[in-house]
Amino acid sequence: MTEKKKTTIVLFSGDYDKAMAAYIIANGAAAYDHEVTIFHTFWGLNALRKDENIPVKKGFMEKMFGKMMPRGADKMGLSKMNFAGFGPKMIKDVMKKHNAMTLPQLIEMAQEQDIKLVACTMTMDLLGLQQEELVESIEYAGVAAYLADAEEGNVNLFI
């Protein structure tokens, strides 16, 4: 076999459906034997948030951001037809019917498949998210680390 191919995905969006698409592609690419990296920045960081409240020291603005943003993948809204939270309930119902994997399950599967999950440290600072608030076994990096993976990448997406 030749050298492993690489897939890199930037997850910018904090929408449940867009994150689902990103994680489905990532899991598919891993099954294709690619080395896969998902670089989470801005609202995409919320997919990596733990669902419980983690007591950390924060300023006023950071606290507000923390309260307004979804705490974890399961709490994220839809990019279309969100209907103040009713949309996600409907789509999760439909997903169950079709045996589709939920976003938290897809993230778990990604970790099982050794997909590299990276959190952008600069936007973590902006949104006031601290390492303690994000799930375990992820990496922390910036644009240079992302580019190092992406420049050798065969598939590169911004979602």
Binding site: G28, A30, A31, Y32, D33, H98, N99, M101
Partner: protein, 75 residues
Amino acid sequence: MNITKVVDAKGLACPMPIVKTKKAMNELESGQVLEIYTTDNGAMNDLTAWAKSGGHELLKHEKANDILKFWIKKG
């Protein structure tokens, strides 16, 4: 045909059939055959493309009662 392992992905949605197939394939030796069941209509194109990319050989496929069956020989 000598089948070494069977993957039952019936009822599972994308991307699970391909993820399960890949996992099972890792446990096989080159030349051994994997049998896959799925009900996902995208699987025909998915598994054909996947097998080709990984250097495996899709020996046979058939459809019966909405169940798609595939036999892939590991490359």
